[in-house]
């Protein structure tokens, strides 16, 4: 295979002993420590690791660029034989965009909302003197077609907000290709997308990179995605390289413990539900033909579902399917326009301010983004103490003791964490504090709204284990909102699949996740990447058969 690059040609990109330091609190910390990286023409290298592992910093360094507040301490970055460390700005400017391109995580944030897509496309090639404006426009249409964007002749004349997220990401990749670069850096290009959209973007990116024989660095924290995209994988941990190997070798036989633990994350399975003590016939919460609307726009129609005591109901669906709205209706933040909600056999008032305090206490919710769910000015003590004081009337020493008990329960050392502000906690620790806040109210029913989606996989697994343990110890009932089917497999008893504000399928987990499926469930299930380098090819093949193309 020529792709293995044993043809003796000089590498396209060669990074040796690179150290990059970042400044925080007036001190310089090394973010990337002594990393080597070699990339040959046409080769795709996957960079994986948790957040803070230095993936993006390393990716940007491949363009000779560092973010504000970072600097290259030591090492060399050679691109096509040319040293980039310490190179004059003019040299770098001529490389960037023309020979090295970059695709950012959020295309929606990376496009300038005030210009049409094609204007932004043409900027690069025209500036670099590769093409005239007219040629660039024709070229854009050709690349849009190659990226399988709908309406390639017209789509470039739209503004970024008029195009969907998946299409934007493809338009961004087309833009990166505009000067036919030798190297593209993809920084988590599909992380913000739904699984059903992700598969299309992945297929398009892979096709165009292969067709143009472009080398790429693909940064992601999703192992299954990197397995589809990369020829080789490099694992980073806190700025250091853990190991690097051919994709198939790496997936089949990871050498280091850290890599093995990353691989093992998706295997977490809960103990069978028989362990839960109460198996009650009457549901704790029941929604009967509930509909809701934002203004005149209907967002939920005819939702019927029941959550049994001590069990976990998972709601899955892509963004915009009404999952979170269902949670808001249950919590009384949005009034249902039709239908009734029953909690513990009694109808629930529509607005949360009309509910008695005892009911507010019994239902708690944990949010998706721990960053915004914690007041940045409240210390852990106040965050957890407030519900204790508010619902249970605890004061002084009893309150303090209970706060410490709760911190113990969520596996955070009380002495170290009780006086911290949210800014002094990591993402996973913040989410644990949010869980403690919900537990402080001694609830029966907890809604977990995408609680793990903002977290790294290892951290997310820790949160899932914690939630599972708490359920067994305290007999909690969960409603788990997620778009991640791995989470559903690991924690749910029952599953509800939503699409466009309706329930398309529901039932026990094993029935919903096993064939025969509803058509949409089938699409959803088959879109989740698997840890198998051939998965994407198989998916695309079955899809081609199905559409007869």
């Amino acid at each position: 295979m020529a792709r293995d690059g044993n043809d003796g040609s000089a590498p396209l990109l060669e990074i040796r002993g690179l150290c990059i330091a970042g400044r925080s609190d007036r001190l310089w910390h090394e973010i990337v420590k002594d990393v080597d990286l070699v990339l040959r023409r046409g080769e795709v290298l996957g960079l994986i690791g948790e957040s803070g592992a230095g993936k993006s910093t390393l990716g940007l360094a491949a363009m000779g660029y560092t973010k504000a507040g970072c600097r290259i301490e030591r090492g060399s970055i050679r691109f096509d034989g040319q040293e980039l460390v310490g190179a004059p700005t003019e040299t770098l400017r001529r490389l960037r965009g023309a020979r090295i391109a970059y695709v950012a995580q959020s295309a929606a944030a990376a496009f300038n909302p005030a210009y049409r897509l094609i204007n932004q496309y043409c900027e690069g090639p025209v500036r670099h003197g590769r093409m005239s404006r007219r040629e660039a426009e024709a070229d854009a249409v050709a690349l849009y077609r190659e990226m399988r964007l709908p309406d390639p002749e017209e789509i470039g004349f739209r503004y970024p907000h008029q195009v969907s997220g998946g299409q934007l990401q493809r338009a961004m990749t087309a833009m990166a290709m505009s000067c036919r670069p030798d190297l593209i850096i993809f920084d988590e290009p599909t992380t913000a997308l739904d699984v059903t959209t992700q598969i299309e973007v992945l297929a398009a990116i892979r096709a165009i990179v292969r067709d143009h024989h472009t080398a790429a660095i693909y940064i992601t924290h999703d192992l299954a995605v990197v397995a589809q995209m990369a020829d080789r994988i490099k694992v980073l941990l806190r700025g250091r390289e853990v190991e690097e190997a051919n994709t198939r070798t790496m997936i089949a036989h990871p050498r280091e413990d850290y890599t093995k633990s990353l691989w093992a994350v998706r295997t977490f399975r809960r103990a069978p539900a028989a362990a839960s003590p109460q198996v009650d016939k009457a549901p704790l919460l029941a929604l009967r033909s509930v509909s809701a609307r934002y203004g005149a726009m209907p967002v939920l129609s005819d939702i019927d579902l029941a959550v049994r005591r001590g069990r976990t109901l998972a709601i899955v669906g892509e963004s915009g399917s009404g999952k979170s709205t269902t949670a808001r209706v249950i919590m009384g933040l949005l009034a249902a326009s039709r239908g009734t909600i029953e909690f513990d056999g009694k109808p629930l008032p529509a607005a949360c301010r009309d509910r008695p305090r005892s009911l507010q206490r019994r239902m708690q919710m944990i949010h998706q983004m721990p960053d915004t769910a914690l007041n940045p000015r409240h210390r852990v003590r106040d965050v957890i103490g407030r519900p204790l004081e508010f619902f249970l009337g605890l004061r002084g020493r009893t309150k303090e003791r209970r706060i410490r008990e709760l911190l113990d329960q969520i596996e955070l050392e009380p002495d170290r964490f009780i006086d911290r502000l949210p800014a002094e906690l990591s993402g996973g620790q913040k989410q644990r504090v949010c869980i403690a806040r919900a537990l402080a109210a001694e609830p029966d029913f907890v809604i977990c709204d995408e609680v793990t989606s903002a977290l790294d996989q290892l951290v997310a697994e820790g949160i899932l284990r914690l939630l599972d343990r708490l359920q067994r110890e305290m007999g909690l009932t969960y409603m788990f909102i997620t778009h991640d089917l791995a989470t559903v497999r690991s924690i749910a008893d029952e599953v509800v699949v939503m699409l466009g504000g309706r329930i398309v399928e529901q039932g026990p987990k094993d029935e919903v996740l096993a064939p025969p499926h509803h058509r949409y469930t089938e699409i959803l299930l088959s879109s989740v990447p698997e840890m198998d380098p051939d998965w994407l090819d198989r998916r695309l093949a079955t899809r081609r058969e199905a559409t007869g193309r």
């Binding site: 983004m369 769910a373 007041n375 806040r437």
Partner: protein, 285 residues
């Protein structure tokens, strides 16, 4: 609190200059009875005494000691400006936070009322009201506080609107927390930094506004010493200034003394405000 002390230690020189100047002004205002060599309103010497002992900054048209009046003026002008700004903030932030948190009709009605108040040039509006009510200190404070609270309302409403959609407010609402708890404990701590910075700026404007009103004769009334009216009284002396000798030149410099006092305090407050804004914007963190 310790966080603020730590920041104070790291404050740049400009902020320190500002802080020291403000402390100096505050000291002078508080200790006016001890510092001033002569009484505020008594005629203690000949008219138009040049800058020599015992009247180091001369005397005015009635023979009152200018230095003493400057010192007493700090107490009157700065004190009233401080009370007025505090009152403006009390009204403005309360209404602004309420409008943002409750929303709906409360927001619509209060915002439109503020729009109406802001549509009228504030100096003309103040002149109009003060001609009707007469120029007591209380009327002055109330009128300026209400007029200025409209700006504070706008700012606090906008800041609160940025905070309210965040999840921690939703959590508090789901818990069933009362309106005032949400405003005081959840919103206020996060809105404090821009509001403190605005407080400094507003204070300067109020202060200049009072000086302007006094200059026009509708602010603090004689014989009370305040810097605005002192500028007006000494302004006509410029005509008599003779820059031939040092002694006669002091007449020309007389209006610059109260004006300079106003200017220096404004600069000092702005130096501190700049520093607080840097902290609030998170650039230093």
């Amino acid at each position: 609190m310790t966080g603020w002390l730590a920041r104070l230690r790291e404050a740049p020189a400009s902020a320190w200059i500002g802080i020291l100047l403000i402390l100096g002004y505050a000291g002078v205002a508080i200790l006016a009875p001890l510092l001033a060599p002569f009484p505020e309103t008594a005629i203690v010497g000949p008219q138009y005494h040049p800058w020599t002992a015992p009247h180091y900054l001369g005397t005015d048209a009635l023979g009152r000691d200018v230095l003493s009046r400057l010192i007493w003026g700090a107490r009157n002008t700065v004190g009233i400006a401080l009370v007025t700004t505090a009152l403006a903030f009390l009204i403005g932030t309360t209404m602004g936070f309420l409008a943002a948190t409750v929303g709906g009709h409360v927001d619509a009605v209060s915002s439109r009322m503020v729009d109406v108040l802001m549509a009228i040039p504030s100096l003309i509006f103040a002149l109009l009201i003060l001609t009707i009510t007469g120029t007591s200190i209380l009327a002055l404070i109330l009128v300026i506080a209400v007029l200025d609270s409209t700006r504070v309302f706008r700012l606090s409403r906008a800041v609160a609107q940025g905070i309210i959609p965040l999840d921690y407010i939703e959590v508090a609402r789901m818990r069933g927390e009362g309106l005032f708890w949400i405003i005081r404990r959840e919103i206020l701590p996060n809105a404090a930094a821009p509001l403190i910075a605005e407080f400094g700026l507003r204070f300067c404007f109020v202060f200049l506004f009072i000086a302007a009103l006094s200059f026009l004769g509708l602010g603090l009334q004689p014989p009370t010493a305040d810097w605005g009216s002192m500028v007006r009284e000494s302004a006509k002396l410029i005509a008599f200034a003779n820059f031939g000798s040092w002694q006669t030149a002091t007449f020309g410099l007389a209006p610059l003394l109260p004006a300079g006092a106003v200017a220096l305090l404004t600069v000092a407050v702005n130096l501190v405000v700049d520093w607080i804004l840097t902290i609030a914007s998170g650039l230093k963190e």
